[in-house]
């Protein structure tokens, strides 16, 4: 059984107990534990079930490479699935539960898949769930969905908060092991701005566990001293619990800081996403141990040798009382020695024919039994290891002996963590002697200046032993320093005692000539249940590319992204294909290195700061007066102001009628307002608008259209001329920023010699529309300026004062009523609005919203950008030829509109529609034409662009585009019904439904 040892444990505090639960079971651990070490200390070997076969799975590793031990952490608003117990720091009150099993972890019905494993080979899903097609939706998918998937999504909103921080560094160092620390010492001494990040809570990496001696001192002492030195450097900052998750273009680096994962609810943000710009990145990310592929290597109790050592040294936890260490290299002997020193039983099974290094000698001297030339034939046990059968590594699987044990520690050698090197395209080379891929210094990922962006250091660069890791890190850091333009300072390179190690023997299958019965129990990918036999089957079926094999077998596609399985898998594939490993190559490494919480990626963007909501000066007033708001771009605008008991439709009808009959008040502040000034401003506007603006009289207003270069209508609005060289262009609410950018684009990039300046004044003014027969009376009541028809005729404006407010009064109308649009400085707009509202009550004033505005304009046949236009409509389609100058040689869009298909006679053109039964034609409905098209769909000849109930006319009205429409007045056409029901018949009419002569607005 696994248990806490009586002595040792460099990271735990035996006097601080912490209570936690696993599947409801109350357990206790110690401060400093990870959830993994605490579970092991409680002999909780079984922690989950595998993805496909639901096989019992235990803890295999001690870091982010862990494939099996994923649990659901927390409850309610702090519930989070798929958390690795190996990277979860224990805290008092932690709750955890296993995943991917039903009904219970101990007894899982899905494990029947395990018995059927020979019927569930690689590509099983692809091969099986194809025919009949109908079965997919109703039979296969529901079953697969129920049994597949990892963990459950949280059901409550996250109780925690998250944030970003932007970091900037000359040199970013990922990894706080001895290589990272050495690199930081070198980089720090150069004066460069250095940021050192370590994913765990502890510095120094594996060195203290491995018992390295650095500069004559135990590693721990050297690490403490290095941190002290770095702490004294103002140009160096370092941060633990911060995992670099990805390196992106031009030195952009993302890192996730776990601030309060282990102290939930303490008021701090839970996580912080660092968005870092680094001139150079040093990847001191270490190496990961590889498993060995022997039958039963997934049974709980089988663990990486390095993890076994980590648990013993760091947490004083032994995964078993009797451990078999199985290895192809010397490093695993450190584990054997550690266990022996802790008073535990240990046997070493070494695949190599003989040993030569210091460590095996030391182990042998300690009395540890060592079996060379042997491998594990098979692990015995179900939910935990009970023993191993061993045999000749060179054999076919004949067992020569069974050794009773309750733990297996395996080591297949080490793989440098090359992810950060590879994210931006750094290439790898195969190091034959060490049987590992390491960064190829001649093909680095490149930065903005075309030089190397990432420098691998230490074990990540293939320099596995402490001594070589330190010198490599110092050398790589010096290169990075020089590349940033700094000079290397006086930083000493530490030296570690050299431990002579014998050569490792690449072992990809154990035993080497194992038959299919064993190979179908050798796991490569533990989380996704991919075995040696699956990869070999894929090769036999013709998969020669490692990328294809990955997807076919799902090797390396689980949430651990194949950190343990990739090299073993591709070695097996290479062997099956009769290829060399480097010729098969690796799959692509993509960020993130390990999963990042979505909350961290979201940062602050939640709740009321999810996205910017633009508010007019009257926003709060609208809310206080019951407005139902709708988004218009990022603006929030009142849709309508329903009264008690009113539906939105009823409220809109009331608002429209009241505006037509008495007086309406509209917040039109969102309207774009762009000032255009300069000697060439008139010439510029003549290019921008389809009609002429240069001849507009001062004090006058003119409606104008803007097209893109293809000739399609892009925006419209009223232009006013303020002075000889000054115009103010009103744009649509959603178009202000876009049109301002459009103007600047032409002024900066095409006509840069024209003397024109623009300024976006959209938010300088509140704009208020006073609309209806009583509009003039209200303004006269306020007093201050003459607002008579004579003083301010239709389509003119005047600057003045109303009730002491500085205003610009425009006589323009988007409703067909007598209408004043009044601009007032935004900081006075609310007060002016409130005054209008109060003074208007006696005149029957009611506010109206955007939907009322739409109905009013549709009754008048006024187009709306985005309704009547969709990027394929030219002004001519909307019968706006009157607003297109024939005289001007050029304007933006003119050439585009001359293309034959736009000049064709039979284009769909704007008309009005009146349903015969008075109903509202469904929005988006098409006008049906005879016959079907090449896809068998009904032909169409037009469509609805705006459709409303008109309270004024008490019937449905619509605008739309109809093939050759204006020539077809009076014709009855048929519309599709969006619901698939009865179609609607409607008469083609003039789109101006109300006050065709325009008498009401011009009074």
């Amino acid at each position: 059984m696994s248990a806490r040892l009586q002595k040792g444990g460099r990271l735990i505090n035996r006097s601080a107990r912490m209570e936690f639960t696993f599947n409801g079971k109350k357990l206790s651990g110690l401060a400093g534990d990870t959830l993994a070490s605490a579970l092991l200390a409680n002999d909780q070997l079984l922690v989950g079930r595998s993805f496909k076969y639901h096989r019992p799975r235990g803890i295999m590793a001690s870091g982010p490479e862990e494939p099996n031990a994923l649990v659901a952490l927390g409850e309610g608003a702090r519930f989070e699935p798929n958390q690795r117990v190996t990277t979860t720091e224990l805290f008092d009150g932690l709750t955890s539960a296993s995943q991917n099993h039903w009904p219970s972890l101990e007894f899982d019905i899905g494990a029947v898949n395990n018995k059927l494993a020979r019927f569930l080979p690689a590509g099983f899903y692809y091969k099986t769930f194809i025919h009949p097609r109908s079965a997919w939706k109703h039979l296969f998918e529901p079953i697969i969905r129920r049994s597949a998937g990892l963990g459950k999504p949280p059901e409550e909103a996250d109780a925690d908060r998250y944030e970003y921080t932007y970091g900037h560094a000359d040199i970013l160092i990922a990894g706080g092991g001895i290589a990272g620390l050495q690199a930081a010492l070198v980089a720090g001494a150069s004066g460069a701005k250095v940021l050192l990040l370590e994913q765990t809570a502890h510095w120094g990496g594996r060195a203290p566990v491995d018992g390295d001696i650095i500069d004559g001192k135990p590693a721990e002492a050297w690490i403490a001293q290095a941190l002290q030195t770095l702490g004294s450097m103002a140009n160096v900052s370092f941060r633990a619990r911060t995992m670099v998750s990805g390196v992106y273009d031009h030195g952009y680096v993302l890192a996730e800081e776990r601030i309060a994962d282990h102290t939930p609810g303490d008021g701090r943000p839970r996580k912080r996403l660092w968005r870092i710009r680094a001139t150079k990145v040093i990847a001191a990310t270490g190496a990961l141990e590889r498993p060995l592929s022997f039958a039963g290597n997934d049974i709980p109790g089988v663990m990486l040798a390095s993890a076994t050592r980590d648990y013993a040294v760091n947490f004083a936890v032994s995964p078993g009382e009797r451990t078999v260490v199985v290895t192809n290299n010397d490093d695993a002997y450190r584990t054997a020695i550690t266990l022996k020193e802790a008073g535990l039983e240990v046997t070493v099974v070494d695949a190599r024919a003989s040993t030569s290094g210091e460590l095996p000698s030391r182990a042998r001297a300690m009395g540890i039994r060592i079996e060379t030339g042997r491998g594990i034939v098979k692990v015995k046990g179900g939910k935990r290891v009970t023993g191993v059968a061993i045999g000749l590594q060179a054999g076919e699987g004949g067992a020569v002996e069974e050794i009773a044990c309750d733990a297996v520690a395996m080591s297949g050698g080490w793989s440098p963590v090359v992810h950060l090197w590879s994210h931006c395209g750094g290439k790898l080379i195969w190091d034959e002697a060490r049987a590992l891929f390491r960064p190829d210094a001649t093909r680095p990922p490149l930065g903005e200046d075309g030089t190397a962006m990432v420098y691998p250091a230490g074990a990540a660069n293939g320099a596995l032993a402490a001594a070589e890791a330190l010198s490599d890190a110092a050398a790589q850091a010096a290169l990075a320093v020089e590349a940033t333009g700094h000079k290397t300072g006086a930083a000493a390179t530490a030296s570690a005692d050299v431990v002579e190690e014998g050569a490792m023997l690449p072992v990809w299958i154990m035993p080497a000539s194992a038959g299919i019965d064993l190979k179908s129990k050798m796991w490569l990918d533990f989380q996704n249940d991919v075995k040696v036999s699956d990869v070999q089957l894929a090769a036999r079926e013709g998969y020669v590319s490692v990328e294809h094999t990955k997807r076919y077998t799902t090797l390396g596609m689980a949430t651990d992204q194949g950190k343990l399985s990739n090299i073993n898998g591709l070695a097996v594939l290479a062997d099956a294909l009769g290829e060399q490993i480097p010729r098969v190559g690796t799959t692509t490494f993509r960020p993130p290195y390990a999963p990042v919480t979505i909350g961290a990626l979201t940062g602050e963007a939640r709740g009321n700061i999810f996205q910017p909501l633009r508010k007019t000066p009257m926003h709060d007033w609208h809310l206080a007066h019951g407005a139902y708001m709708e988004p218009v771009g990022l603006w929030q605008r009142p849709y309508t102001y329903p009264r008690a008991g009113e539906t939105h439709d009823q409220a809109v009808n009331r608002e429209v009628l009241n505006t037509r009959e008495r007086l309406g008040l509209l917040d039109a502040s969102t309207l774009g307002k762009i000032l255009v000034k300069g000697p060439d401003a008139g010439k510029f506007l003549d290019m921008l608008y389809t009609n002429v603006m240069s001849n507009l009289g001062i004090g006058k207003c003119r409606y104008g259209l803007m097209c893109n270069e293809q000739g399609f209508l892009s925006d419209d609005g009223v232009v006013i001329r303020i002075a000889e060289d000054t115009w103010l262009c009103h744009t649509t609410s959603g178009g202000a920023d876009r049109i301002h950018g459009w103007m600047e684009d032409w002024l900066q990039c095409e006509w840069w010699d024209w003397q024109v300046y623009t300024a976006n004044l959209t938010e300088q003014y509140g704009q208020i529309a006073v609309v209806g027969p009583n509009a003039r009376k209200l303004l006269e009541k306020l007093g201050g300026m003459d607002v008579s028809k004579e003083a301010i005729p239709f389509m003119t404006f005047k600057d003045g004062e109303l009730a002491g407010f500085p205003v610009r009064v425009h006589r323009i109308s988007f409703s067909g009523e007598l209408s004043y649009e009044i601009a007032v400085p935004a900081s006075h707009a609310l007060a002016f609005w409130e005054l209008l509202y109060a003074e208007g009550q006696a005149l029957g004033l009611q506010t109206y919203g955007t939907e009322g505005l739409h109905v009013l304009r549709a009754e008048k046949g006024f187009i709306m950008i985005g309704d009547e236009t969709d990027g394929t409509v030219i002004p001519q389609d909307l019968n706006l030829d009157w607003a297109i100058s024939k005289k001007k040689e050029d304007f933006l869009g003119k050439r585009g509109q001359q293309r034959t298909f736009l000049a064709a006679k039979d284009r769909w053109k704007l008309v009005g529609f009146e349903s015969l039964d008075g109903s509202v034609i469904p929005d988006g409905a098409y006008v049906i034409a005879a016959g079907t098209n090449e896809y068998g769909f009904r032909n169409s000849q037009g469509r609805i662009t705006s459709t409303y109930h008109s309270p004024t006319l008490k019937r449905g009205i619509a605008m739309g585009l109809l093939k050759d429409g204006p020539a077809r007045m009076g014709e009855v056409v048929e519309f599709t019904a969006m619901t698939g029901g009865v179609s609607v018949a409607a008469k083609v009419v003039d789109p101006v439904f109300y006050d065709k002569e325009g008498e009401k607005q011009n009074v």
Partner: protein
Amino acid sequence: MLILECPCCGVKAEETELAPGGEAHLKRFGPGSSDAEFETYMFARKNPKGVHFERWRHAYGCGKWFLAARDTATLEVFGTYPAQTTEPPAELIAKIQAKRPGWKGWK
């Protein structure tokens, strides 16, 4: 995520502070141009693997458009320069030629 130095204000802006504007050095064809010329202006765009000239706007900064030359494959930036020009500066062309001997030129 790219960083480009704005030639107007000198800020080394990152991509989130910039707005892309497509290919640089297009010649506008208006009324009177042939269909082929207009098609070229409107639709024909280079898509090289290698040296490319682009329009960018320092949208969250000084608001100015500028032009940039970069390698679309390696993302190496050769240089940025003001938009008020019809062709890349000679020294930039020389720099690119030195770095990419086989380069066929910007046109």
